[in-house]
Symmetry: C2
Subunit: 182 residues, 2 copies
């Protein structure tokens, strides 16, 4: 998995932030030439595809400053340092939707933007949902609204652009196949 | 689509690069408090899901410095300023695979990392493929290898982690449903 490896000759730190950091590496290419790579580091994240006993998907709507609009997405959240993704998934599900789940199953992990970032999202399906009394609350800079939708409604939201991010687009396709079999 | 809007109070440019730029905004939250948002700007990209007449998918393997490994992905590339995504899609398909296509159909657009970046990928399916003589060549810092795979082989590559990025994971699920109907 190192085909065409690009070795770093130098690495220049540009920024250390709360969520991401940025550095620029000069690399040697397979043909011996050099190039620059702008590299964003991110702690990684989980996304949860919560499916109710009735076969509805639980989404959250939130504002995304990077896109200057709100999106309808699967619940998700960043990994804390050293945290197991499954722990993050249960926490974020509770915080963002108020649901706990009996069954949490990893379905896929993927890099979101391999051209410039190392962010990896671990996607879980959550089933056997039930509302938690006095559920943990959101971070103080998070504001989300819960939306429960059938798969047909979710597909409409993808067509209309209300659902507009990679992890959620993936999750809707996955849920469609899964619910046909369940 | 502006629910829970976060208005910028100030915006600090951090870096202007070849591919991305970074700025940090201080924003007003819906509860009146303030927070910081680290925001990566990216020109946007296309991904092409090329399907041969025999129902094979054409992937490319390339090294991804951000992840320090090579990945098997759908062909893809950044939008040039002012370029229509369909033009980018035909160009990247030719450069990365040597294929031209009779039919190019937009299937979905999505943000890859809405938590910190504005990158949007437009995904197209390309059909009616045929090799172009003297095809346009890759950028001088690009090195890719072409891999043609059946949908079953692609699903195995997802399980094994050789396919490991969001646009390709989405495309494989989409292709599976599509090929069952085609």
């Amino acid at each position: 998995m190192k085909k065409y490896e690009e070795k770093s000759i130098s690495s220049t730190p540009i920024y250390e932030g709360k969520v991401i950091s940025l550095r620029v590496d000069e690399v040697t290419l397979p043909n011996g030439k050099t190039s620059k790579r702008e590299l964003v580091k991110h702690p990684g994240a989980v996304a949860i595809l919560p499916i109710t006993d009735e076969g509805k998907i639980v989404f959250v709507e939130q504002y995304r400053k990077a896109l200057e609009r709100s999106l309808i997405e699967t619940p998700a959240g960043k990994l804390e340092p050293g945290e197991e993704p499954e722990v993050t998934a249960r926490r974020e599900l509770e915080e963002e939707t108020g649901y706990g789940c009996e069954k949490l199953t990893h379905i896929q992990s993927f890099a979101t933007s391999p051209g410039f970032a190392d962010e990896i999202i671990h996607v879980y399906v959550a089933e056997g949902l039930s509302k938690i009394e006095n559920a943990a609350s959101l971070d103080e800079d998070e504001f989300v609204e819960i939306i429960e939708a059938t798969i047909e409604e979710a597909e409409e939201m993808m067509k209309s652009g209300q659902i507009f991010d990679a992890k959620t687009a993936y999750s809707v396709l996955w849920a469609k196949e899964y619910l046909q079999k369940r």
